[in-house]
C-alpha cells in the first residue's frame, strides 16, 4: 500500500456514479429543510437540484424533490439517512420507480436586436417557450420541461444574447393513479 502515513485507511472507491431523483415527504416545521440540507453537506453528498414547497397545508406536509449523484451504495445511504430523520414521512426513489415524470420551469432573459431577436423567437416557438415579458431589445421566455430540454434551450440562447436564467429545480411525480 503506497498511502501516506495516516490513522485512516485512505481508499477511494471507483463504482460508477448514478443520478437519482428522490421525493421526500416531510412535516413542514421550522428547520426541516436545514436538516435535509445539513445531512447532504455534512455527509458529503451531492445536491444537483432541490425543490421544496408545502403541498398539503392542512396536514402541514411539504414535498422536497432532490436530484443527487452518487454510487449505488451512497444513493442507498442517502435514502436511509433521510428516512430516519424524525420529521420525514416517506422517501421515494423516483428513478427506481421507472415511471416518473420530471419537470422544471425556467425563465430565460435574452437581449438582442435584428436577426438574433427573430431567431430567438423562432427557437422559443419550437421549444414551446412562452414570452412573458418583452421590450424593444429583450425577451423573457418561460419554458417548462425536463432538465435536458431546458439545458438545450439555454445553450441555443447563449449566442443570441442570453442575459440570465432563473430555474426552479426539478419537481417529480409518478405516472398512474397511485400517490406516494
Amino acid at each position: 500500500m503506497n498511502q501516506p502515513a495516516s490513522a485512516y485507511f485512505l481508499e477511494e472507491r471507483h463504482d460508477p456514479n448514478e443520478t437519482h431523483t428522490l421525493s421526500v415527504l416531510v412535516q413542514n416545521e421550522p428547520g426541516v429543510l436545514a436538516r435535509v440540507i445539513g445531512l447532504f453537506s455534512g455527509r458529503g453528498y451531492n445536491i444537483d437540484s432541490l425543490t421544496v414547497s408545502e403541498t398539503e397545508s392542512q396536514k402541514h406536509l411539504s414535498r422536497i424533490t432532490i436530484v443527487t449523484t452518487g454510487t449505488p451504495m451512497v444513493i442507498q445511504q442517502i435514502k436511509h439517512q433521510l428516512d430516519r430523520m424524525i420529521p420525514v414521512y416517506r422517501v421515494v426513489d423516483m428513478t427506481l420507480t421507472g415511471n416518473s415524470i420530471e419537470r422544471e420551469l425556467a425563465m430565460v432573459k435574452v437581449r438582442g436586436a435584428g436577426d438574433h431577436r427573430v431567431e430567438a423567437l423562432r427557437l422559443a416557438d419550437a421549444f414551446r417557450a412562452r414570452v412573458i415579458d418583452a421590450t424593444t431589445e429583450s425577451f423573457v421566455f418561460e419554458i417548462t420541461g425536463n432538465s435536458s430540454k431546458i439545458n438545450q434551450f439555454i445553450d441555443l440562447m447563449r449566442p443570441l444574447g442570453l442575459v440570465e436564467v432563473s430555474r426552479t429545480g426539478v419537481a417529480a411525480i409518478t405516472r398512474g393513479p397511485e400517490g406516494m
Binding site: 500500500m1 498511502q3 495516516s6 485512516y8 485507511f9 416531510v26 436511509h80 420525514v88
Partner: protein
C-alpha cells in the same frame, strides 16, 4: 372565561420542565446554572424529587449524563444555559450521537423577542446542535412545551437511542400554560422505528448458520443498548450454536470475557484470533455493530470469503461500509428472540470442530503478550492487576481515550453489559472522569473506576471538585507516561519518530492536585508498590486520583497498520524492540 387558577395542569414553562422530568422517572440531572435557565433552577430549588448534580463545566454535565445513561439504561439528563452553556454541550451531544446514548439536554435560550438579535449569551443552539442530535426543538410557545418534552424523551430512548436537545427561551419558562402528562400523540407520526425483524430473512439466517463451517458472531453496542434481555439471548445463541464470538469496543460485556467462546475484542487493536476469525470465516452474523473503519481495516480485503448477516435497528447502518447478504432491520433482543426460536425448532448445532482447532492455533500466538518488567510498571500489567484486585466486586469501568483505553479493553475482562463506559465513535479525551461521576450518581455503593491517561484526564479534571462536593467516591486510575501515548505511538510508527507536541513537559503532581481538590492522592512508581496502592484505592470511600507511573514508551499491540487487512496484523513480538530502540535514541527517558 373559565377559572383556571385551580387547574393543577396550569403552570409556568419552568415548572413544566421539572414536572416532565418527574413524569419520565428522572431522579438525577447534571447541570450548570446561568441567566437563561434561572427560572428552571428556581423550580429545582423548590422540590426534592429530582436531584441536581452541579458540575464545573457543561461538558462534564454531558459526559456524566452519558455515563449515567450507559450504566442504567435510562436517559441521562443535562440542564445548561444559553450561549456558552449550549456550545459546551456540543462535544457530549456528538459523543452520544456516535455511540447511541440516550441523552436529553435542556438548554435555556434568550427570550423569544431577542432571538436573532445577537443578545447576551445568545447562540443559534438548535442550528449548532442540529447535526449532533438525533432531533432538537426550539419551543416558542409554552403550550407546546409539554408535548415537546415528552417527545424528546421518546425520541432519545426509542429506536436507535441518541441525544436530543430542547431549547427553551426564558420568556417561555416564565409564561403560564397547560401541561399534560405523556401520551402517545406527543410523537411525530412520521417517526416509527422498526423493532421486529423480517421473518423470512430470519429463517434464511438460521439456514445459513446451520450450514456454516467457519462461522463467527460479531456484536456491538446495539446489544447493550437493547437492554439486558438482548445480552441474555446472545449468550443463549452462542450456547446453542457453539459459535465463536467477538465484539467491538462498545459491545464489551454483552458476552462474558470468561465465556469459552469469547475471542476478545476485534479491530485495529483487537486480538489476533478475533481478527483472523473474522477474515477467514464463511458466515458472519453481525448484531448491533456498524462495520466502523476501526473494525474493518482495509474494506476491500475485509472478510473476503464470507456471507454476511447484519442485524441493526438503524437501516442506515446497513450497507454503509460493507455490503451484506442478509440485512435484518430490528431491535437486537426482538430479532435474537425470533432467531433463537427458529434455530431451536429447525436447526442443529453445526459441527465446527475443525474451525475451533484453527482458532486454537491463532489463540496460541498469544497476541496480547508483553515483556514482563520488574523495575518499571508496564501499563498492561497495571490493568491486569486492577482487574484481578477488583474481580468479583460490583465494579464499573470508564475510560478516557488513547492507549490506556485500548489496554483496558484488552486486559480488563467484562462479564456483564452496562459495566463499561467508553467514548468509542467520537474518541473524546476527557470523557471518562465525568462519565464516572454519572455512573457513581446512579450506583452510589458500587466501585467506579476511570482508567485514564495523564493527557486525557487533564481535559476535564475540574470535575474532581464535583465528585468531592457530591461525595462521589470515584477512582481515577491514571496510567501516567507523560505522553499522549497513542499520538506518540502513531508518530513513532508513521511519522519517523518525530514526536511533535505529544510530550507533556509540565505535568501536574497528581497527588498534590488530589490534595488541593480535597480528595485522596495515591502514587505507584514500582511494580512492587502496585497491589498495595490499588487495594488502598479500593478501600478508600472518597474520590481518588491514582498516579500510576508507567513505562513511557510502551506501544499498544497487536495492531492492524494503515491500509492493511485483518490477516496482516502486527503482533507485539514483531514490532516493539527495534522500533522502540529508535525512540530511546531520541533521548526521552523512561519514567
Amino acid at each position: 372565561m373559565t377559572d383556571k387558577s385551580h387547574d393543577p395542569n396550569q403552570m409556568t414553562g419552568a415548572a413544566m420542565v421539572v414536572r416532565a422530568l418527574i413524569d419520565h422517572g428522572v431522579e438525577h440531572i447534571f447541570g450548570y446554572p446561568g441567566g437563561a435557565v434561572l427560572p428552571i433552577y428556581d423550580e429545582i430549588f423548590q422540590q426534592s424529587e429530582v436531584e441536581h448534580i452541579l458540575v464545573r463545566h457543561e461538558q462534564g454535565a454531558g459526559h456524566a449524563a452519558e455515563g449515567y445513561a450507559r450504566s442504567t439504561g435510562k436517559p441521562g439528563v443535562a440542564l445548561v444555559t444559553s450561549g456558552p452553556g449550549a456550545t459546551n454541550m456540543v462535544t457530549p451531544l456528538t459523543d452520544a450521537l456516535m455511540d447511541s446514548i440516550p441523552l436529553v439536554c435542556i438548554s435555556g435560550q434568550v427570550p423569544t423577542h431577542l432571538i436573532g438579535n445577537d443578545a447576551f449569551q445568545e447562540c443559534d443552539t438548535v442550528g449548532i446542535t442540529r447535526p449532533c442530535t438525533k432531533h432538537n426543538w426550539l419551543v416558542r410557545d409554552v403550550n407546546d412545551l409539554a408535548k415537546v418534552l415528552h417527545e424528546a424523551f421518546y425520541v432519545a430512548m426509542s429506536g436507535r437511542p441518541g441525544p436530543v436537545l430542547v431549547d427553551v427561551p426564558k420568556d417561555v419558562q416564565f409564561a403560564t400554560g397547560t401541561y399534560h402528562p405523556p401520551r402517545k400523540s406527543d410523537v411525530h407520526v412520521s417517526y416509527t422505528p422498526r423493532l421486529k425483524g423480517d421473518a423470512s430473512l430470519i429463517r434464511k439466517t438460521v439456514a445459513m448458520l446451520a450450514s456454516a463451517k467457519r462461522p463467527v458472531i460479531y456484536t456491538g453496542g446495539g446489544i447493550v443498548n437493547s437492554g439486558p434481555e438482548a445480552s441474555k439471548l446472545l449468550r443463549e445463541l452462542v450456547e446453542v450454536t457453539g459459535f465463536p464470538i467477538t465484539s467491538t469496543l462498545m459491545g464489551l460485556g454483552a458476552y462474558p470475557a470468561s465465556g469459552p467462546n469469547w475471542l476478545g475484542m476485534l479491530g485495529m487493536h483487537g486480538t489476533y484470533e478475533a481478527n483472523m476469525t473474522m477474515h477467514d470465516c464463511d458466515v458472519m452474523l453481525c448484531i448491533g455493530a456498524r462495520f466502523d473503519d476501526r473494525i474493518t481495516g482495509r474494506v476491500d480485503a475485509f472478510s473476503p470469503g464470507s456471507k454476511k448477516i447484519h442485524i441493526d435497528i438503524d437501516p442506515s447502518s446497513i450497507n454503509k461500509n460493507i455490503r451484506v447478504d442478509v440485512p435484518i432491520i430490528g431491535d437486537a433482543a426482538n430479532v435474537l428472540g425470533d432467531l433463537l426460536q427458529v434455530f431451536k425448532a429447525e436447526a442443529k448445532k453445526p459441527d465446527i470442530k475443525a474451525w475451533w482447532q484453527q482458532i486454537a492455533q491463532w489463540r496460541a500466538r498469544n497476541s496480547l503478550s508483553y515483556r514482563k518488567n520488574n523495575d518499571i510498571i508496564l501499563p498492561q500489567h497495571a490493568i491486569q492487576r486492577l482487574f484481578d484486585l477488583t474481580r468479583g466486586k460490583d465494579t464499573y469501568i470508564t475510560t478516557e481515550v488513547g492507549q490506556h483505553q485500548m489496554w483496558a479493553a484488552q486486559f480488563y475482562g467484562f462479564e456483564e453489559p452496562h459495566r463499561w463506559m467508553t467514548s468509542g465513535g467520537l474518541g473524546t479525551m476527557g470523557y471518562g472522569l465525568p462519565a464516572a461521576i454519572g455512573v457513581q450518581v446512579a450506583h452510589r455503593d458500587s466501585l467506579v473506576i476511570d482508567i485514564a491517561g495523564d493527557a486525557s484526564v487533564q481535559m476535564t479534571i475540574q470535575e474532581m471538585s464535583t465528585a468531592v462536593q457530591h461525595e462521589l467516591p470515584i477512582k481515577i486510575f491514571i496510567l501516567n507516561n507523560q505522553y499522549m501515548g497513542m499520538v506518540r505511538q502513531w508518530q513513532q510508527l508513521l511519522h519517523g519518530n518525530r514526536l511533535s507536541h505529544s510530550y507533556t513537559e509540565a505535568m501536574p503532581d497528581f497527588v498534590k492536585l488530589a490534595d488541593a481538590y480535597g480528595c485522596v492522592g495515591l502514587r505507584a512508581t514500582k511494580p512492587g508498590d502496585l497491589d498495595g496502592a490499588i487495594r488502598e484505592m479500593i478501600s478508600v470511600r472518597r474520590p481518588v486520583l491514582f498516579d500510576c507511573r508507567v513505562a513511557a514508551l510502551e506501544n499498544c499491540f497487536p495492531m492492524i497498520p494503515s491500509g492493511k487487512a485483518h490477516n496482516e496484523m502486527l503482533l507485539p513480538e514483531e514490532a516493539t524492540d527495534e522500533i522502540t530502540a529508535t525512540a530511546f535514541a531520541g533521548g526521552k527517558a523512561l519514567v
